[in-house]
């Protein structure tokens, strides 16, 4: 959620509630005998308000589970979650007079602080990381499909390399790959399928593509000619496509990758430059997917803390409310 002008109304309303509550608390604290307490009338009002805010914030999860419910716009729920959830912290601090009390209340206070803190952290991340994603990951895909897309890229790269270097024993399940790795104007001929080197293989036009251009004939390179490409592919490209998060791989960094590809290019005949360019493009996409994964983990990792703790907070908070009324 972006912190833009659309947040102004909620922000101002929350600020007003906060200021009014703070003024109220100061007056209350100055006159409290002997000091502010959660059990006093004012303390209870703060406590009930804070807990109500927490409940509302927690209901966002339920609202998301049932999106068809006509209970206000999702955006309004999100804003309410953000601002009222944030306000719940000062309300509860006012409730307890800035003291953490006994075991249960201490647990609750720390749960609240961590929950609100993680929520704030998440809100900040959600405000900046999507922009980062737009600029740094133009080839963004669905996060859940990254593994699958990465596999398709690897298979595409295998085919590309085998089309000029001959079979490397890497290609698998090409039919499916041809169906699902698509999006390319020219599917490189599956030279490996021919199983022979030095022969001219007709370009295979991807039957599923509507934007397929006739592929030129690809000439298999001799062993000597293809050796640099094979070596580079086996030692650098393939490992990178399999394990893109490994730090030691030079292709993980764009500047080094560019230099590496430029170096290999000088050792290859011009007929293989197209394939090399495709490999470079595939590596770039794989790098972006890795970046997307990292950004996604930052954007959603905090929820691993925020959601479970908030549920525990609501549960224990309800228990605290009942027992506090009892004792």
């Amino acid at each position: 959620m972006h912190m833009d002008k659309s947040q102004r109304a909620w922000g101002l309303a929350s600020l007003m509630i906060f200021v009014a509550s703070t003024v109220g608390y100061i007056i209350y604290a100055l006159n409290a005998t002997p000091r502010p307490s959660g059990g006093s009338v004012v303390g209870l009002i703060f406590g009930i308000t804070g807990f109500a805010f927490m409940i509302f914030a927690a209901l966002l999860g339920a609202r998301k589970r049932v999106p068809v419910w006509r209970l206000g716009r999702a955006q309004a729920w999100m804003r309410g979650h953000l601002w009222l959830g944030l306000l719940s912290l000062p309300m509860i601090l006012f409730h307890g007079g800035f003291r953490f009390g006994g075991t249960m209340t201490q647990v609750l206070m720390w749960l609240l602080i961590i929950t609100v803190g993680s929520g704030l952290f998440g809100a900040i991340l959600q405000n900046y990381l999507p922009r980062l994603m737009t600029t740094d990951v133009p080839l963004e895909t669905i996060y859940d499909e990254i593994g699958n897309v990465r596999k398709l890229l690897r298979e595409e790269a295998d085919r590309d390399v085998e089309s000029v270097c001959g079979a490397l024993g890497l290609s698998q399940d090409r039919e499916e790959a041809a169906q699902r790795a698509g999006g390319f104007t020219a599917m490189r001929p599956l030279a490996a399928a021919a199983g022979a080197r030095g022969m001219v293989a007709p370009a295979i036009i991807a039957a599923t593509s509507t934007a397929v251009a006739p592929a030129p004939e690809i000439i298999l390179l001799t062993d000597d000619e293809s050796a640099p490409l094979r070596r580079f592919y086996i030692n650098e490209v393939r490992p990178f496509l399999e394990r893109p998060s490994e730090h030691r791989l030079i292709l993980g960094r764009p500047d080094k990758a560019k230099l590496a590809f430029a170096g290999v290019r000088t050792m290859l005949p011009a007929t293989a430059h197209g394939t090399l360019a495709d490999l470079e493009d595939i590596c770039d996409e794989a790098r972006q997917l890795r970046k997307q994964e990292q950004v996604h983990h930052w954007m959603h990792g905090w929820l691993l803390v925020h959601i479970p703790l908030s549920l525990a907070l609501i549960l224990l908070g309800a228990m605290h409310a009942v027992m506090a009324l009892r004792y």
Partner: protein, 472 residues
């Protein structure tokens, strides 16, 4: 040919059922969403099963109640059919008596209103000013009018000047004591006896707490050892009857004990009565002194029968007495009567009257000029004030780091018995004021709420070994 992408081809590589598949992130999140609330729930259930309510405590208990940490039910009593278990006065009164405040007080407050438990290791007696101000900010009494200030919020807000030094309305503070003492004179360098050394008295030479051993620098062990027939009521002014007694037994070091002749005065103020004797008369009532003199002179003349021949001493001719012949032969009885009369003249007119207010037949001896030898004077009660501020408690021991004149500065300049040498409120407020840089200034520091004179004894409730286990 470079790779190019079309939307369709990009879409084709997406498994349309991807959202049905679980991912590690989703799995971990789901696991935690189940695990943490489940742990919280398990904790609550365990607490219910174990009947452990300590976690619901709103804070650490005061040190005085630390033994009850496992005994929630000691104060939070369960009543049949009622969910609430608030701590009530009856629970407090099981262990503590809480006598009422003044009988004219309008409001009765619950124990917990002033003594707030679960606030950490605090002193539960340290109640807040606001508790007292509930009534004293606008004091009203139940069936009567109050003689006290009726708008006191705190020591620094509305507390009047101490009554003992308060002036105004034509009233001047005065010490009701009758023992004549010039503090200024005694605080200067003075000669001890006609030919004695120069001495500088210290406050502590005369003023000591009751429990402190007496300083006999200027006392006389013989007088200390002697018993007297006068009582404390002859010396001390009756304490204000409305005052609330303190909670704790006095250590004897809080207040200064009344100054005693035997320990503070006897060394300099000799009670000698006749040239034939070195010793002085007892520091006692005139009747006792009279009997003492008769006995002494009787013993003396029995041992010295020749002394009945009395040669006139011109230095001892008194104006009010008829001229005596140069030599007289007296009977022992006459001699005893005459010597006794002379001794009493000396004592009543010069020695005793130096400090005491004496009167004969209700007439002050000073105005009467003379006292008939056969008439014993009446010594006015000393009216020594043992407690100047009966409504407050004060501990000299706690202030022992300060010199006496830090607070009682008037002692250096006072010349009159009626001078009140007590410090005013401003002196106390030098240190006792609100804020962290000052000494405690809350009401409880000096005042008592409960009337401990009405204290009732409490029956034991707890079994010490069982406290550990939570049983009673």
């Amino acid at each position: 040919m470079a790779r190019t992408r079309t939307t369709k081809k990009l879409a084709q590589r997406i498994d349309l059922n991807y959202f049905k598949r679980s991912t590690p992130l989703k799995r971990v999140r789901l696991g935690l969403v189940i695990l943490l609330p489940a742990l919280a729930l398990a904790w609550i259930i365990w607490l219910v099963v174990a009947k452990d309510s300590r976690v619901y405590s709103s804070g650490r208990m005061a040190g005085a109640h630390a033994v009850l940490v496992n005994q929630c039910a000691a104060c939070h009593v369960q009543k049949a059919g009622i969910f609430m278990q608030k701590a009530e006065d009856s629970a407090c009164l099981n262990c503590h008596d809480g006598p009422i405040h003044h009988h004219v007080a309008i409001k009765r407050v619950a124990c917990a209103e002033c003594h707030n438990e679960h606030r950490g290791r605090i002193n539960l007696l340290a109640t807040s000013n606001e508790n007292c101000a509930q009534c004293h900010a606008d004091l009203k009494t139940n069936g009567g009018t109050s003689n006290y200030s009726n708008a006191i919020l705190s020591f620094s807000d509305g507390h009047p000047e101490f009554a003992v030094v308060r002036t105004g309305g034509g009233r001047k503070p005065a010490d009701p004591g009758t023992i004549k003492l010039n503090h200024q004179l005694h605080m200067k360098l003075i000669r001890r006896g006609p030919n004695g050394p120069m001495v500088q008295l210290e406050c502590g030479n005369c003023h000591r707490p009751a429990a402190a051993p007496a300083d006999l620098t200027y006392g006389d062990a013989k007088y200390v050892a002697a018993s007297t027939t006068y009582k404390a009521s002859d010396e001390l002014l009756t304490v204000h009857t409305d005052a609330l007694p303190p909670h704790n037994v006095s250590s004897g070091r809080e207040l200064m004990a009344p100054v005693k002749f035997a320990t503070a005065c006897a060394s300099c103020h000799l009670l000698t009565f006749d040239k034939h004797f070195d010793e002085g008369v007892p520091h006692d009532k005139p009747e006792v002194i009279h009997a003492f003199l008769i006995a002494k002179f009787t013993q003396y003349i029995a041992a010295h029968p020749g002394d009945v021949r009395v040669v006139r001493d011109p230095n001892r001719d008194l104006a009010e007495r008829a001229p005596q012949p140069e030599v007289r032969i007296l009977t022992p009885a006459q001699w005893i009567a005459e010597r006794t009369a002379d001794a009493e003249q000396l004592l009543w007119r010069k020695t005793c009257i130096q400090c005491h207010a004496l009167s004969a037949s209700g007439t002050p001896v000073v105005a009467a000029v003379a006292v008939a030898p056969s008439v014993l004077p009446v010594v006015a009660p000393a009216n020594t004030t043992a407690k100047w501020m009966p409504h407050a408690k004060f501990d000299h021991q706690a202030h022992s780091g300060f010199t006496c004149v830090s607070c009682h500065s008037q002692a250096l300049t006072s010349t009159q018995t009626t001078d009140v040498l007590m410090p005013g409120i401003a002196t106390c407020q030098t240190c006792h004021a609100p804020g962290p840089d000052h000494a405690e200034s809350r009401c409880y520091e000096c005042h008592t709420y409960h009337d401990w004179a009405k204290r009732k004894e409490i029956s034991p409730t707890f079994n010490l070994p069982a406290l550990k286990t939570g049983a009673r």
